[in-house]
């Protein structure tokens, strides 16, 4: 960090614990309380591929202004088990604090089976170097040595008090409430308005009054105790008055909302992390509300309810092909998956492409190859999504970088799929999916539904003038009929086909059909407006231009703010449309820059390679990360600054994150 950090309303908070112990709900409550208090929040969730017992943690940034990413430092670490303290205490800043269970001091590192041997050795070495033993008390002492405030909370005593107050006969029944004690203690140290916590508990427990009351009472006890134990903590959260409502949502919800708004009516899926959340959200909200069109319309009155049908299939092959079947009837259809499932979808993508079936695949990238790290982050599927499938099958690739783009791209993907009658792969990832935070309620009024060229009854097909699904007469896009539409029989086949959709191996027709499909992609390149192709941030003549795609956007923008504040001449080209590739924009923004920095969450710098392939422009530097943990704005800032100062190698590998 440069300069003195503002200690009011600029906080990085972390909570951790065993999976299944309520880490997520406590983080949710913390973040919501901050949001109710008028702050903006950004939450990041990290977890193992495990149901119960392994360590998971959640970081929440709470600030007055805009926040789009996490930082490396933790100012306040809230724990209720020993493992979290062992794992994360070194991330706490010297002026930070740790909330911990005062009954766990004697716990030894070697007594925690879920700590990997590699980390165990590292922690022991760390403690030995400081002349300390291997208990939690030793670990806490090491933190205290450098100034960290220790806040011991006797969780079990507090729970006993709650049990007495609410006449709960067994402590085990309320043991789970320990997480809200940690939240209460955190806010006590931060002196945040307690009312906001009650509001947050209302949200989290959905108005189950008794549960809210008990949790609020527990949180209050921890709040008061912690406030008395750390009266002078340097970081504070204060309420900020706000007039505008904001959304608090996760990326999975954002994409689902976008797809619903875009008229999605069938979603198929097979369970896979981290993509399933989106489908589950859709299924939970399958019955939809309708609104009147802008003009009164006699047909609309007849409309009987709206809904999205969510089908859990037997595998991803079924998901993608079932969605194709649904799309052939005119329903907007999509599926959502992650890398391993996407592998199984290849044949469906080719089928959709050759049959010109509108199909949307939302691809939540995660760390590969193979099963890789199922719950960890990566942007490793750009090349894969671009080329997935045999032969040459045109498709559109659109990558979102933040929550609002995820909502909007849900609509755009469905529109592109129908307008260009081809598969659209909407690229998102684990970080975007599991991040949560506040954003201004987006104004979506500019978004329209574009169904492309559809056959209408007025087209008057007859035996003399039969409908041709792949009519070659009027440019690359043929009017699309749907199954069940009178007068418009058509055929589909995975084979090359003639204008009716029957099999052909005629070399001339083959050329025409190949050219037709490719021409649609060129048309898309021409028609899709610039703001959907890319965003450019910063001065146009920047000496250093960062180029990236997807979820790195938040960390890069937050780093950019700091670099601009320090008068560095840096720009950022965020690519949104990755196929057809916006070569001109890339040339325009990159070619003249002195330093061109490719920032990506993968090993090889896939976008950098693509840029070279499509434009001949070489990035001078590469900043990559592939340890499964998303980039922090601190990491991006440090890496780019070193590049600007001429202190960096051509390739920087980022390695932080627990």
């Amino acid at each position: 960090m440069t300069g003195k950090p503002s200690k009011v309303n600029d906080l990085s908070w972390m909570i951790g614990g065993p999976q299944g112990s309520g880490v997520d709900s406590s983080a949710n409550a913390f973040a919501r309380a901050c949001a109710h208090g008028g702050l903006n929040v950004f939450g990041k969730r990290e977890y193992y591929s495990n149901i119960k017992g392994e360590h998971s943690y959640f970081t929440v940034r709470a600030v007055t202004g805009t926040v789009r990413s996490h930082i490396d430092e933790t100012h306040l670490l809230a724990t209720f088990d020993a493992e979290t303290a062992f794992r994360h205490i070194r991330e706490v800043t010297d002026d930070g604090a740790i909330v911990y269970d005062s009954g766990l001091g004697k716990t030894k590192i070697s007594g925690i089976p879920t700590i990997e041997h590699r980390l165990e050795d590292e922690l022991k070495t760390y403690l030995i170097a400081r002349g300390l033993g291997e208990t939690l008390d030793d670990m806490l002492a090491s933190a205290k040595q450098r100034g960290v405030t220790l806040v011991p909370i006797p969780y079990s005593d507090l729970l006993t008090q709650v049990a007495d107050e609410f006449k709960v006969d067994a402590l085990s029944k309320i043991a789970r409430m320990i997480n809200m004690l940690a939240v209460g203690a955190s806010f006590g140290i931060l002196r945040f308005d307690f009312d906001t916590i009650v509001k947050a508990l209302d949200d989290v427990f959905r108005a189950k009054i008794a549960v809210v009351k008990m949790n609020a009472s527990a949180a209050r006890k921890a709040y008061d105790l912690a406030a008395s134990l750390a009266p002078d903590f340097g970081y504070r959260l204060e309420r900020m008055p706000r007039k505008e409502p904001r959304l608090f949502l996760s990326g999975s919800q954002a994409t689902a909302l976008g797809k619903l708004y875009g008229g999605l009516r069938v979603q198929t899926y097979y369970p896979i992390t981290p993509a399933s959340d989106e489908s589950e959200f859709l299924e939970s909200n399958e019955v939809l509300d309708l609104k009147m069109p802008e003009e009164a319309d006699s047909e609309f009155v007849k409309e009987k309810g709206a809904s999205v049908l969510v089908v859990q299939t037997e595998d991803e092959i079924s998901s993608v092909t079932m969605a194709c079947g649904a799309a052939l009837t005119g329903a907007r259809a999509a599926t959502a998956t992650s890398g391993p499932g996407f592998c199984l979808m290849m044949e469906g993508i080719g089928y959709s492409s050759i049959n010109e079936i509108p199909l949307v695949i939302t691809l939540y990238q995660r760390a590969g190859p193979s099963t890789g790290m199922p719950t960890r982050h990566e942007q490793g599927d750009l090349r894969f999504a671009l080329h997935a499938g045999h032969g040459e099958s045109p498709r559109i690739l659109l990558a979102s970088g933040d929550f609002e783009e995820m909502i909007r791209d849900g609509v755009h993907s469905l529109n592109f799929a129908e307008r260009y009658q081809m598969p659209v792969i909407h690229l998102v990832d684990k970080a975007l999916a599991n991040n949560s935070g506040t954003i201004p309620v987006p104004d979506l009024s500019d978004l329209k539904i574009d169904r492309g060229s559809l056959v209408t009854q007025a087209d008057g097909y007859s035996p003399e003038n039969p409908y041709k699904r792949f009519d070659l007469r009027n440019g690359p896009i043929s009017a699309r009929a749907v199954i069940g539409q009178h007068g418009t029989l058509f055929w589909n086949t995975g084979d090359e086909h003639d204008e009716f959709g029957h099999i052909t191996e005629d070399p001339g027709l083959r050329n025409l059909m190949m050219e037709k499909r490719e021409a649609k992609l060129q048309l898309a390149a021409k028609e899709i407006p610039d703001p959907l192709k890319y965003h450019y941030f910063g001065p146009n003549d920047a000496e250093t231009v960062i180029v990236s795609w997807g979820s790195t956007k938040g960390a890069i923008l937050d780093a950019l703010d700091r670099l601009h504040a320090e008068k560095q001449s840096v720009g950022f080209l965020q690519l949104r449309l990755l196929n057809p590739f916006p070569s001109e924009a890339v040339m325009a923004h990159l070619a003249k820059a002195k330093r061109r920095v490719d920032v990506e969450m993968n090993f090889s710098g896939q976008l950098g390679g693509l840029i070279r392939e499509r434009t001949g422009v070489d990035c001078t530097h590469q900043v990559v990360k592939y340890n499964g943990r998303p980039m922090s704005s601190t990491e991006v800032y440090d890496a780019v600054l070193r590049i600007i100062l001429g202190k960096a190698e051509k390739r920087t590998v980022l390695t932080l994150g627990a």
């Binding site: 069938v266 809904s307 998901s319 799309a327």
Partner: protein, 327 residues
């Protein structure tokens, strides 16, 4: 409109050149499908024929309804996608035995679990024809058809048994050279309320030189029958077999009887209806429990945009739940 009234089997035929081998059992199935569509007076614009890959999959190009020739093994997911999005359509799926029992095995099992209201016809000839005669999943262990280097090393799957285990609620078997009987089965299968599975014994004259038309017809057994062929194929209903589950208490009994019958092979091969159970809810009805307007306004016909392209999905309530109100 009188269109449906005057339709004859030939009205369901396209002009596409048929490139099946002369004498192929597929012809019988194609013809009977067209006959069944005519008998049921189905409007071609309300029918989707969906197929997998292989010789059998070309069927849809020869039929004048919507025809979706899909990928190897994927006939059922695509067919179900069509039916789910527009339950008002009549959906008939056709595919080969390799397609359905081999590469599409998982789909076969899960289609049974759903019980959508549609018919799936399996073209069962024991070989992969279009790839030149390899053994398919329904070829019996030890049988050596003419392209095989060695006798078949795998045991055969029993489509009838598998369909019952998967949950198909109507299970039948036909023979492609008994056209009238097969047509009746197809009509019943289409009419059945739920997922109907029809196994059709369909000789491949080019690659299966064992289970031939002559073999099914029992021409090799003429000597024991006073010089007249003694067919191996016999009709279940001709022997008084009652496949119908009359009430739910009969499910176990009727399923057991069907399983028992499905094991017959060799000198006596039953055709007809093995099992019929309309006491299982259909997938569409299950959806309707959750989405009351599903049949009235299914996904395919819902309006999603106003006259100016304005989205008609109202997110107000959903966004409201995600909104943090001003403090």
């Amino acid at each position: 409109m009188a269109l449906e009234e005057i339709l004859k089997p030939q009205d369901y035929a396209t002009e596409v050149h048929n490139d099946w081998c002369p004498g192929c059992g597929d012809f019988g199935i194609l013809r009977t499908v067209q006959m069944a569509l005519a008998e049921l007076k189905l409007n071609p614009y309300r029918v989707a024929m969906v197929s997998g890959i292989g010789c059998s999959a070309k069927t849809v190009h020869y039929i004048k309804t919507y025809g979706v020739h899909t990928l190897h093994g994927r006939v059922l997911p695509v067919a179900q996608g069509v039916k789910l999005a527009n339950p008002g359509l009549e959906v008939v799926a056709v595919g080969g035995d390799g397609d359905g029992m081999g590469i599409g095995g998982a789909h076969f099992v899960n289609a049974g679990r759903r019980n959508l209201d549609m018919l799936y016809i399996l073209f069962d000839n024991g070989v992969y024809g279009l790839t030149k005669g390899q053994a398919s999943p329904t070829l019996k262990l030890g049988v050596q058809t003419k392209s095989l280097a060695h006798p078949n090393i795998n045991e055969a799957v029993n489509p009838i048994w598998l369909a019952l285990a998967a949950g198909a609620t109507w299970v039948g078997r036909g023979y492609s050279y008994d056209v009238k009987h097969l047509k009746d089965l197809i009509v019943q299968g289409i009419r059945h309320r739920g997922y109907a599975f029809l196994d059709v014994l369909q000789p491949c004259p080019t690659y299966n030189d064992i289970n031939t038309k002559e073999w099914y017809g029992g021409e090799d057994r003429a000597e024991t029958n006073g010089g007249r062929p003694l067919p191996r194929v016999y009709k279940l209903d001709g022997e008084g077999f009652d496949p119908v589950v009359h009430d739910s208490s009969e499910i176990e009994l009727k399923a057991s009887k069907a399983l028992e019958k499905s094991l017959e092979w060799g000198d006596r091969i039953p055709i007809g209806v093995f099992y019929r159970n309309e006491h299982v809810s259909m997938y569409g009805d299950r959806i309707q429990q959750r989405i009351p307007t599903y049949f009235e306004n299914p996904p395919a016909v819902q309006r999603i945009a106003g006259p100016h392209g304005e989205p008609l999905t109202d997110l107000t309530k959903l966004l409201g739940r995600l909104t943090i109100k001003p403090s």
